[in-house]
């Protein structure tokens, strides 16, 4: 049943691969365009910083991103080439704020072999040609005509087979390229060629330079008037042109990125592999180059791209750490650095490993990733939902309600916190030491339970108890007026705002009171047929103190009604259906849309769009938030209004793009909440839960939350141990000066504060390859097992490794056993109370045996051969799924009777694996080297031996991402009664920092969504005219095939962002109501 899969991105790619700067959106505006592998972001440079204008997905992996300006154009055009040999030229349409495609095409060839060193795409500075180096030995030219339109492309044979870089030179009468290449003796040279348009061939260029630095792999063309080219090597930098040659030695470094500072090209920023940023200056007298100068500026993230924006502000795009916006100062700071980091942009990539844990033990998964590389390595805790950061808490059991009050209506801060208990009311206030202490408001009753409190106009406070409504002056704190419930009736529920009170007494009496200056006027009384269960008069209109509408939830007929104030005339009545009474109603306006929210006693929430003029309730939607009654309350954060739903699974409801999003809060059971904005705790919430009152601030309201634990070294493998509440990681630290450049460690971290608890250094040349927390048969301890490999410089294939078994004792790693292996231990799995290791070509099973002296050791039991390299192993029961380096997936079984491991089936395709997962007993998932996902299925019931031994490929899909790891789990809380809870999901992490979710859908749902996907392909056009169908079709070196059994969740969920007109178009094509479609898509969004 796990054949029908739905793939969706929970975290978009974050690794920045390309960036460029130019006047793209208008001739006057300066834009930064950032490519994150499969996404393009367009930013506008403003005095306040970078402002995001557009973020769009591209149906391809970006290989080249260049801005250029053809003759006669006032602003720049964007040229994009993809790794799939498609290219497009995009233009900004300022009227619709959209990208329009000026030109597009396919530059794939039958001839030639794909370049090993990556595709090169360059544009002649005078816009005569686009040059592409895609295949060894071929240089493709796309000429521009006089009007700036592209003409037919042609290939020119290139003599150099190992091309490292090609750039167009400035200031040449004929378009000229400089080619940096390596000959077959591994020496590096630069040659120049003129491109002759007439001959469609090369003409010998003006100069060449032989025998360069062996590490030279980057060319920087220098603009006019200097012209020429800079050749960046590992030990030297050479300036070269037809009539000058200047070189300077540099400290050994590998330059990864450059950015030009001046238009005349006299200064450049160079970013190296260690994250150091240098300024390279070409000194010149007029047009004559006199020398080069290099100066260290400081340290940033390891740059993959550098874009100089303006006024010494530079964008550093990184694939290994967070991207940064930096400012280059004129004067160095105390540490001698000229670099000041202004802003950071989170990057999770490369995610080499991760684990799914439930640290708060609330049934919600969190992902802890090994992110970044080298010095920028970090652990990132990625979690769905919103965090409350606890600031203070007091033990106060039995809270029945809390409200915050101001000492005057104009006061910016709240002063009092009214806490109601079953038979008393306590008032807390902040004292001078910023502590909460008991205080009194004389006019309030403190010996009874408070039903509601609110600030009122004219510096008054209102308290509603079961017998009375009391109006108190907030300055004198004396009672000013009082309304008593009629004899024989008690107030059951009540609500108020600054100028109105609505309460209901037993017998269905609804009383409406208006607050004046020292007066309480009973304006209206209504008799309803049933008892009132909840009510609300939260103002949603223009007047923040007065509400035109009242919402009332009813017992018995289970309905919610809207009354018009002050007359209490019935506007609308909506039957809720079911047998559960509404327990809380709320009127609110989010992003300018009025909603009526109605929470039921069983944790369900209904929401309606409310037309405030007609009282009409539309777009009824029902979601399940928890299992206990919900209390709704609004609060604001960053000047936007949100709704807090307190229950056993507290949630925040907020609006994004005019749609409601439910995000859970990382707290267990919250009974009551009120906003509490005090001087000591600005923008905080007071939360009543589990016998205590907590004051805390709330995270930024967004879906995924990422917490960074920088560790300054490169974490490679991670695993969590529930019992000891620790994480263990295998990491490596680069040591620039020491004899051995890398040191490898096993480190133990606390899972709450992520502090290093202990470190076990590995031997010289020993790498940690795999890590596992497991326990063994007949041993109650839990252990960390670490598989290592001795990587000796002279060996191709490691022939020695170790399996280390640690136990955590008092927060320390204690080595209890070690076993030498004949190869590197690529993978470790717990297997039937034993340890299953993948060692080079072999799968080996170890048992945990007791020696005579009472110590334990690993003893090999049996093994299985027949792999090229068994890199990725997963187990389920007695089954072992092996992802081979280059021979796809094979399935092994452990036979207990014989004590042997045998192969029972395999996929005979030649997929180079990067990760494997087990979907169910018969279906397995693989990710390959060519960015595909595929599923294979075993036919255990097949008639012939041949069919039983062969796994059938049942699903294929191009994900366009390099997947490093699959893990079972979910980022969201699964409620037992919601529809999505039955859907098994897997999480994956990729090199570009994508966290994705793969869900196995029931077949009917899959079929429905497949139809929707097909319809959406017709309506949503890809950027640059690229086809979604082609993008998602499976492709490797040998073949390509349409995607099957996989759906693109990102495309399907973009339905919710479409305009109503487009939704209707799709709904018509599908013959399904828009509302129905919307509902089904919304359900899916709750998978992640």
């Amino acid at each position: 049943m796990s054949v029908w899969n739905y793939v969706v991105t929970a975290q978009k790619p974050t690794s920045v691969t390309h960036s460029c700067v130019g006047n793209f959106t208008s001739p006057q505006e300066l834009n930064l365009i950032v490519a994150k592998c499969t996404r393009i972001e367009i930013h506008l440079l403003t005095p306040q910083g970078l402002e995001a204008i557009l973020d769009v997905p591209l149906y391809g992996r970006i290989a080249t991103l260049e801005l250029f300006r053809p003759h006669g154009e006032a602003q720049d055009l964007l040229f994009i080439a993809t790794e799939g040999y498609k290219f497009c030229v995009l233009q900004w349409d300022s009227e619709s704020s959209e990208l329009i495609t000026r030109a597009m095409g396919d530059v794939a060839d039958r001839i030639g072999r794909q370049t090993d060193n990556g595709q090169i795409g360059i544009i002649d500075p005078d816009c005569r040609f686009i040059g592409l180096h895609l295949y060894d030995g071929l240089f493709k030219v796309i000429p521009f005509d006089n009007k700036g339109q592209l003409k037919e492309a042609y290939n020119i044979r290139l003599e150099e087979l190992q091309v490292l870089d090609i750039k167009f030179l400035y200031g040449c009468a004929k378009p000229t390229i400089a080619v940096l290449y390596q000959d077959n003796k591994d020496a590096r040279h630069v040659k120049t060629y003129e491109v002759s348009q007439k001959e469609k061939d090369f003409v010998e260029g003006p100069w060449s330079q032989n025998n360069l630095d062996n590490g030279a792999d980057l060319l920087i063309p220098v603009p006019s008037p200097l012209c020429g080219v800079l050749i960046i090597g590992e030990e030297t930098i050479v300036y070269c042109s037809a009539n000058a040659l200047k070189a300077i030695p540099i400290r050994s470094s590998i330059t990864k990125a450059y950015g030009r500072v001046d238009v005349d090209g006299s200064r450049y920023l160079l970013g190296d592999h260690a994250g150091l940023i240098h300024l390279l200056v070409i000194t010149h007298e007029k047009e004559k180059v006199t020398g080069l100068k290099m100066e260290l500026l400081g340290e940033t993230s390891i740059a993959s791209t550098i874009s100089y924006l303006d006024n010494a502000v530079v964008f550093i795009g990184s694939s290994y750490g967070d991207s940064q916006l930096i400012k280059l100062n004129m004067q160095p700071d105390a540490s001698g650095s000229y670099v000041e980091i202004i802003e950071k942009y989170v990057n999770l990539g490369p995610i080499v490993d991760f684990c799914v844990v439930d640290l708060e033990r609330q049934g919600q998964g969190q992902v802890v990733t090994c992110s970044g590389a080298y010095k920028d390595g970090s652990l990132r805790i990625v979690r769905n939902g919103i965090g409350i950061n606890e600031q203070a808490s007091v033990e106060l059991p039995g809270i029945k309600g809390i409200w915050s009050l101001k000492s005057s209506i104009d006061d910016a801060f709240d002063t009092f916190l009214v806490v109601s208990f079953i038979s008393e009311t306590r008032i807390l206030a902040m004292n001078i030491e910023d502590e909460l202490e008991d205080t009194e408001i004389e006019g309030f009753l403190s010996q009874v339970q408070t039903l509601f409190c609110h600030d009122a106009v004219y510096n008054q406070l209102v308290q509603i108890t079961s017998n009375s409504v009391r109006l108190v002056s907030s300055t004198t704190r004396q009672l000013r007026n009082k309304w008593d419930a009629p004899a024989g009736f008690t107030v059951n529920v009540a609500t108020a705002n600054a100028s109105q009170v609505l309460l209901a007494t037993g017998g269905g009496h609804l009383v409406y009171i208006e607050i004046g200056d020292g007066t309480l006027t009973e304006v209206k009384h209504a008799q309803l047929e049933y008892e009132v269960s909840c009510l609300d008069i939260n103002p949603t209109g223009d007047n923040p103190n007065y509400s035109q509408l009242a919402a009332v939830g009813m017992w018995t007929d289970i309905s919610v009604r809207i009354f018009v104030l002050p007359d209490l005339t019935l506007f609308t009545k909506e039957q809720l259906g079911g047998e559960i009474i509404p327990r809380s109603v709320l009127l609110c306006a989010l992003e300018g849309i009025s909603y009526l929210l109605c929470a039921l006693g069983d944790g369900h929430l209904l929401n309606f769009q409310l037309d405030t003029s007609t009282g009409e309730l539309r777009d009824r939607k029902k979601v399940s938030l928890g299992t206990q009654p919900i209390t709704l309350r609004t609060f604001s954060s960053k000047s936007a209004t949100h709704v807090f739903a307190a229950s056993d699974r507290p949630s925040v409801i907020y609006s994004n793009n005019k749609k409601l999003i439910y995000s859970n809060v990382n707290l267990k059971e919250v009974s009551h909440m009120c906003p509490f904005n005090s001087g000591a705790f600005p923008d905080s919430l007071a939360i009543a839960r589990e016998g205590e009152l907590t004051i805390g601030t709330i995270d930024e309201i967004q879906k995924l939350h990422i917490r960074t634990i920088p560790i300054g070294e490169h974490a490679r493998r991670i695993c969590h141990q529930e019992q000891t509440r620790t994480f263990a990681i295998c990491s490596l630290r680069n040591q620039p000066s020491a004899e051995e450049s890398e040191m490898h460690f096993v480190r133990l971290l606390d899972d709450r504060d992520f502090e290093f608890l202990a470190t076990y250094p590995l031997d010289a040349f020993e790498y940690g390859c795999s890590i596992l927390s497991c326990s063994f048969t007949d041993d109650k301890n839990v252990y960390y097992c670490v598989g290592t490999s001795y990587v000796l410089p002279e060996e191709n294939e490691p022939t020695k490794g170790r399996i280390l078994v640690f136990v955590v004792e008092e927060g320390k790693l204690q080595l209890v056993a070690e076993k030498e292996t004949k190869g590197s231990v690529y993978s470790l799995n717990a297997f039937n109370g034993k340890l299953l290791a993948a060692i080079n070509q072999k799968i080996q099973l170890y048992k945990w045996t007791l020696r005579d002296d009472g110590t334990r050791e690993l003893q090999s039991e049996c093994g299985h051969h027949g792999h090229i390299l068994a890199l990725y192993v997963q187990t389920r029961g007695d089954f072992i799924v092996v992802g081979d380096l280059m021979k796809s997936i094979s399935l092994l079984i452990y036979k207990h009777e014989e004590g042997a491991i045998e192969e029972i089936a395999r996929d005979y395709n030649a997929s180079w694996m990067t990760a494997v997962g087990i979907l169910d007993d018969d279906t397995y998932l693989g990710a390959d080297n060519c960015y595909n996902l595929f599923t294979v299925k075993r036919h255990s019931e097949a008639a012939t031996d041949e069919e039983r031994c062969r796994m059938e490929v049942v699903g294929e899909y191009h994900i366009g991402e390099f997947v490093n790891r699959f893990r079972h789990g979910s980022l969201v809380t699964r409620l037992p009664d919601s529809e999505t809870s039955q859907i098994p999901t897997m999480i994956f992490g990729t090199v570009n920092g994508v966290i994705g979710v793969m869900a196995s859908l029931p077949q009917e749902q899959y079929a429905f969504l497949e139809k929707l996907q097909t319809s959406m392909r017709k309506v949503i056009k890809g950027v640059g005219g690229l086809s979604h169908e082609q993008w998602r079709s499976f492709k490797n070196e040998k073949r390509s095939a349409d995607a099957r059994s996989f759906l693109d969740g990102d495309l399907i969920e973009s339905f919710m962002d479409l305009s109503r007109r487009k939704m209707e178009e799709i709904s018509k094509g599908m013959d399904v109501q828009v509302e129905e479609l919307y509902k089904r898509v919304e359900e899916l969004t709750r998978l992640h």
Binding site: S15, R113, D116, E159, S860, C930, V991, N992
Partner: protein, 451 residues
Amino acid sequence: MWQAIQARETGRTPSNSFANRLKSRRISSLQLSNRKDFVSPHRGSVNSLQVDLTEGRYLLSGASDGSAAVFDTQRATDSEASSGLIAKHKCVFSVDKGHEHGHKFAVSSAVWYPIDTGLFVTGSFDHLIKVWDTNTAQAVVDFKMPGKVYRTAMSSLAMSHTLIAAGTEDVQVRLCDIASGAFSHTLSGHRDGVMSVEWSTSSEWVLYTGGCDGAIRFWDIRRAGCFRVLDQLVTQLGVRPPILKHTAVNSKVSAEKSSSGGKNRLKNQHGKHTGSQNMKGSSSTKASVEKSRQKRLHPGMLSTLDRATAHYGVVTGLKATNDGMYLLSAGSDSRIRLWDTQSGCNTLLNFETGRLQTSKAIQLATSDDPALVFVPCMKTVKAFGMWSGRTTLMFRGHYESVNTCCFNSTDQELYTSGADRQILVWSPGGSVEDEMVQNEEVTEDKDNWSD
């Protein structure tokens, strides 16, 4: 290895170059496999080998005893073999003289239908080409040829035709259409039998043929006649024709251009540069001038004028490189030549072949990473660097002369066969080590039990 995997994990090494580097390392360690063995059912010299193009899994062989056989390269027939002994791969099935449709004489060529493994084609000295249904092992189509069939080929790219190109004793090359069961083309030009045929790897319409007359002809099957005859004396040094001189000093060239035109001009310039070629240079100029004129005049009439040869003697083997840019040829003059298919020039690469078989067609193979050419050199097979011509690997194992090499790029394995009736497997090294490890484990296990 672990470092390479780490570099791939972090995105430092692009995944394709990771794969290429690894393949290249595996290929350079090719050695006679001690884990895999094909049990040859053939009782005669094995003349043809091909791995299927879709799965890269099934090996088809054709032999002089009139038999053809299919082997599974992945799965050993002997299940016991997985316990560490040499895995035996018996043929899945074979068709021989005993078969009701079997060939009467030697099978000279056996090729797979490129689209799937449902069909394969055999050509025989009994003048027949047969198309076989793999699943039933029955011949479904017969083509009667005018003489012994030396070589058959199908285009791996073809999307719009299902043509078998056949080189026979006859001077004409025939294209047999499986769809209709009839000849669709007869290509005239060669003046002797055609020993080798090869489809282009860049265009489904282009066919290369090598004849016993020493000529290699290029055909575009959409047009009449051949469009190019390779001349061993028209040369270029390196991977492409020389670069045009800088325009400032180009007046002489442009004057010459009016007489010879296009790319040919470059070649004779080159001829002048390369000393020893100087004498022949003039004749090549003439030939190419004639050729280009002829091309313009009447492509179909070319053969009467052009007597250019690619080899002295018989062209015994042709192999187009996977990138579609070059063609390798083997001749009875014991030479391997590498041709630039775009310019038609001989690249003057000197492959250290020693002696080659002269009387039979031989089958060459290439690999991409590193760029190697596998050539049967009498009893050995040599691998030459594509751009150095130097012998990088030498495979000794056959007892008689080797006829064919077939490289399986999915597994990086080389299959060779020869007159000794064997099909040998050469696989990447490292498995020896593996063997040792295993033996040790076995003894270790015994120790445990004996305790």
